[in-house]
């Protein structure tokens, strides 16, 4: 069986992590996030097309050809009571707002594109719209996050000890901050599905960390008096096959999703992909070595 030295070079990895966290924080505060329309609001364009074969993808294509502002636009079909047969209406939402001249320009551009594709249609209304999900994150305040972290810390302290609790929560914060940093740096849209990915990451990161910790706890009891660094390294090695297999299976699912899923789900798949890598990395190189340092100090 391979025996790898995970903890020997821990300072290198801790440094890499610190750099990544710092870069993420800088990106988050300078570049900020590309928030989705459900949080920020923006414009809603209602398009009426006299065709029953015209689908969302066609509308998305037309708008994308007009301007790159629409690359993350939400396109969905709407229908009102009393609409005649053979008429399809689409709602197109983007975070951008338009002034009067821009509206007119867009309207004629869309109608021209439609007539190019030999379909009759027009923009029937142009709304400024508020976000529908702004409330969803409003309550996820710092207080909520802090209480969540404390609850986790308390549980791990009870089942393991305080040092492990600190290690797991720091690894969790590390994972979430870096994933958020990726969102900011690559300008991936932070929408409701992306928030779901971040929430999933919380579970994933904790789960990974606890499995390694559980083995460290077992080995600390079994080999009392053995040097802590060696115990930790042995433990990581013992669960390494599991770590790789679990991470790979998760990674496969979310990576296939990232490759093939449509626009609105891309941020979700992106968050899950980044999260599955960062979550695995941190359980091996951050959460566990952190325990060594602290146990030594004690």
């Amino acid at each position: 069986m391979m025996h790898m030295d995970f903890v020997g070079k821990r300072m290198i990895f801790i440094t890499i992590s610190l750099i990544l966290v710092a870069a993420s924080v800088i990106s988050i505060f300078t570049k900020g996030f590309n928030f989705g329309v459900e949080f920020l609001g923006g414009s809603e364009i209602i398009l009426r097309v006299e065709s029953s074969t015209f689908v969302e993808a066609d509308v998305r294509r037309i708008f994308n050809e007009i301007s790159s502002d629409f690359s993350s636009a939400r396109v969905t079909r709407v229908r009102s009571v009393g609409d005649p047969e053979g008429v399809t209406k689409f709602s197109v939402t983007v975070t951008k707002t338009f002034d009067v001249t821009e509206k007119d320009a867009l309207q004629s551009a869309v109608e021209k594109k439609l007539s190019d594709s030999k379909v009759k249609g027009q923009v029937v209304s142009f709304n400024e719209t508020g976000g529908s999900a702004a409330e969803e994150i409003r309550r996820l305040t710092w207080r909520a996050i802090l209480i969540t972290l404390i609850a986790i810390l308390v549980y791990i302290t009870l089942r393991f000890n305080f040092v492990f609790g600190i290690g797991a929560t720091l690894a969790l914060v590390h994972d979430v901050v870096i994933t958020l940093g990726f969102f900011s740096f690559f300008s991936y849209e932070l929408n409701v599905p992306a928030v779901a990915a971040l929430l999933t990451l919380i579970g994933y990161s904790l789960n990974n960390t606890i499995v390694v910790y559980d083995r460290i706890r077992e080995n600390m009891k079994k080999y009392k008096g053995k040097e802590i660094a060696a115990t930790v390294n042995n433990s990581i090695n013992q669960v390494f096959t599991r770590t790789i297999n679990t991470s790979l299976t998760t990674f496969i699912v979310v990576f296939v999703l990232l490759l093939f899923a449509g626009n609105a789900i891309k941020p979700f798949a992106f968050g899950m992909t980044v999260g599955s890598v960062v979550g695995t990395y941190s359980s091996i190189y951050i959460a566990s070595p952190m325990v060594i340092r602290w146990v030594k100090i004690r």
Binding site: G41, E44, E56, R74, T76, R77, V78, R79, S80, V81, S91, N127, E128, T129, G130, G131, S132, A133, E136, I147, T148, A151, I152, I156, A168, V192, P193, V195, A196, L199, T200, I202, G203, Y204, L206, N207, I210, V211, D214, V239, R242, T246, L248, T249, T250, I252, V253, V254, F255, V256, L257, L259, F260, A261, G262, N263, A264, I265, F268, M272
Partner: protein
């Protein structure tokens, strides 16, 4: 293997219950074949779409801050939907050509009239003064119409029965003594306890900002209990008007100084409940005018939902194959466990009528992850125990015994995080937390009970391949 017999019974009973919840016949069967599994799980707006209602907010000219009015309307509607259990519905503000609109989208609703009912009244509520009542339709009687003009009041129909009330907003014609869109904090039916009365009464409490006005109104309208029914008293009745319909008209028997009032009338429990609901539903500050009612397709786009679903299935199949290639029979067991837990989770969602949105599906993906992980942990542990020289039977027992502790801590930590999300989250975050918690509990059950049962059953297949595989690696 007595323990395994118990496990088998539990496993079958649980999955039977899950399928019962999933396949219980319901109205409007639209799915056939495999998709019938999703029949009873209400899907969210992002995946399935729903009813879409658009209202114009009728803000009067010269209102100081129209945006505040629209915000108030938004809050009232949001609260009504939340109270009806539709936390996954969306309410958003929209503006065009100097008009404000509210767009409401309600998931799992195909009937727009029902959706409108769910939203409740779109009219204004106020407390008014009853001046007169009539058993004939005032529209057909010119003298009654004249009376309304003279008294500067309006004939309004009662909620039930052929009675019309002459109601004036301004109480006793005192300037600005009127209470339109009162904010009612609580209203509930309470059993009547006073002697000589029976049935139920309704208690309600006004927000402190409206309590002072209500005090002044009741000071004007209060009548001694002895004179109830007299001509003078009949002109001092208080009416609760919603949507230009008199919901209730009665006497004020004492001044209400603190906004805490009760309405007595020997109501039946049904009447009391209804009146309380009317009061509680919260009044809109302005009238809403329906612009359109209709439906919205999946918000993510039907094509996107379709390709993503396909991508998910492809990913899953790769995982299935990976597990079998890497773990042999234990991989097959892991795959069975995974399918089992997925159906179990869907069954619970169907039974609780939780609305499944994309974040909810993220919860399912996570559940799949934990179920696979649990099986990997167990399989790896059994391998280790075998390597340590234990017999297959002993290795399985030790492997499951030790993995129990690992999984217990890993899953419980996740559940704690899930509970925190459920508590602090709203809407879709709550939806995610729900599937996460149910799914993780399910995966724990599946790993400990189902996987154990199957591993015991197929233990004869484990020995050789596992040991040989180890030998080959070393």
């Amino acid at each position: 293997m007595r323990a395994d017999r118990v496990r088998l019974i539990v496993v079958i009973a649980v999955i039977f219950a899950a399928f019962l919840a999933l396949l219980w016949p319901s109205k409007g069967q639209t799915y056939k074949g495999l998709a019938a599994i999703f029949q009873r799980i209400p899907l969210g707006l992002d995946i399935k779409g729903g009813a879409r209602l658009e209202y114009r907010v009728d803000v009067e000219q010269g209102v100081e801050s129209p945006s505040e009015v629209v915000d108030n309307v938004w809050t009232v509607l949001r609260n009504r939907l939340d109270a009806a259990g539709y936390t996954e519905a969306t309410v958003r503000k929209a503006f065009r050509e100097n008009n404000s609109f509210i767009v409401i989208e309600i998931p799992a609703a195909t009937d727009t009239t029902k959706a409108e009912k769910l939203l409740g009244s779109t009219g204004v509520m106020y407390f008014g003064q009853v001046l007169e009542e009539s058993q004939v339709d005032p529209q057909t009687d010119p003298t009654l119409k004249d009376l309304a003009r003279v008294k500067k009041a309006e004939w309004l129909p009662a909620r039930e029965g052929k009675i019309w009330y002459l109601v004036r907003q301004e109480i006793m014609l005192v300037k600005d003594l009127k209470l339109i869109s009162p904010q009612i904090v609580t209203a509930s039916p309470v059993p009547e306890t006073r002697a000589g009365r029976f049935g139920y009464k309704v208690t309600f409490e006004l927000a402190s900002k409206d309590a002072e006005m209500f005090k002044k109104i009741t000071q004007q309208l209060v009548v001694p209990e002895g004179s109830i029914g007299s001509a003078a008293a009949r002109e001092k009745r208080l009416a609760i008007v919603l949507d230009n319909v008199v919901q209730f008209a009665g006497y004020v028997i004492s001044v209400i100084p603190d906004g805490k009032a009760e309405i007595t009338g020997n109501f039946s429990i049904e009447e009391a409940k209804q009146l309380a609901a009317i009061l509680r539903s919260g009044a809109l500050p302005v009238r809403l005018e329906k612009v359109s009612a209709g439906w919205v397709a999946p918000l993510l786009g039907s094509d996107i939902v379709r390709t993503s679903l396909l991508a998910g299935v492809v990913g899953l199949i790769i995982v299935f194959i990976y597990m079998i290639v890497f773990y042999g029979i234990q991989g097959v067991i892991a795959d069975i466990a995974l399918l089992y837990n997925t159906f179990l989770l869907l069954g619970v969602l169907a039974a609780t009528r939780s609305i499944l949105t994309l974040p909810g599906i993220a919860g399912i993906v996570f559940t799949i992850g934990t179920t696979v992980d649990g099986n990997i942990i167990i399989a790896e542990r059994i391998k280790e125990e075998l390597k340590a020289g234990k017999s297959v039977k002993a290795a399985i027992a030790a492997g499951f015994g030790r993995s129990f502790i690992t999984l217990f801590d890993a899953n419980l930590t996740t559940i704690i995080a899930g509970l925190a999300l459920y508590y602090f989250g709203t809407g879709t975050v709550k939806g995610f937390a729900t599937t996460l918690i149910i799914g993780v509990l399910g995966s724990f059950f599946v790993n400990i009970v189902l996987s154990r049962l199957l591993t015991d059953a197929f233990s004869s297949l484990i020995r050789k391949p596992a040991v040989e595989a180890k030998g080959a690696q070393q």
